[in-house]
Symmetry: C2
């Protein structure tokens, strides 16, 4: 069976999923984000097979999200987030916030974020880059952008029902 | 091979991935978000097999992210986002914004967001719920929360190196 190529879809969500569209990649990024950066550390923390971890790390390096660098002459490698990877952490922060609210156990959030700017334990929320007011699914419209396919991937419902 | 149970991990990122930890689920949510809500419409739009689509829709309904309702006596069903599902769209908005920046082709963003509050084409960015200032990976600390495991899932690097 041919693998669906999400990276070729005219959709930035699909193209992002082409980089992290399975559960291990975001968890690998989470580990590296919090300082678990060496292959053996990540493997031990996640309980992931060496084969799968190698594949996912290679993909994340090839995608420009991680950088690999030797830390030992043998050589062994550790991984760090690139600028592209660091900006991807926004996604994990939103994921953690949603999971804390909707998928939590009775014990509460496993991890808290302390915001340097105000020093408070806090959570992120989405704001409009233009007007700084809250921006969510409930207060936006979608418009076709310059990269929209012809015909559009997401035709209006009326067209589909025709 | 036993499937890893991401929903049991003491990590809200892993628990969120238990709901949408593969590429199709976010794309199904995307379609429903933009008004492609019926089984046959989603199947046609995504080019996904009926078997996989049925499995993913069932999982999203069981997870409380979608509601199923009949729209025809045969019966046929359409799907709508619950409150839990609507809040998950934040994740897709961040995914689209990151993908627009880092995974785009030369043609530009496939979809634009127009923010109702200011009327502008804009993108979301993360702000602190407490002080409203930007909040990203680069300006937060992690602290163990009340739901942190003992020993912690993410011990400090110094411990791992010991």
């Amino acid at each position: 069976m041919q693998r669906t190529n999400f990276g070729d879809m005219a959709c930035s969500i699909a193209r992002t999923l082409d980089v992290i569209g399975e559960p291990w990649s975001p968890l690998i990024l989470r580990d590296i984000w919090v300082g678990i950066t060496r292959f053996d550390q990540i493997q031990s923390d996640l309980g992931i097979s060496r084969k799968v971890l190698t594949e996912r790390l290679n993909h994340l390096v090839d995608s420009g999200v991680l950088e690999r660098r030797p830390y030992d002459p043998r050589p062994r490698h550790e991984y760090t987030l690139t600028e592209k990877g660091t900006e991807l952490i926004d996604l994990l922060m939103v994921m953690a916030t949603w999971g804390d609210k909707w998928q939590s156990t009775n014990t509460g959030p496993p991890v808290l974020f302390r915001h340097h700017t105000c020093g408070q334990i806090s959570t992120p929320t989405l704001h409009c880059t233009h007007c700084s007011q809250p921006m969510h699914a409930t207060n936006i419209d979608h418009l076709p952008g310059p990269g929209a396919p012809t015909p559009p991937v997401n035709p209006p419902k009326a067209q589909l029902d025709a």
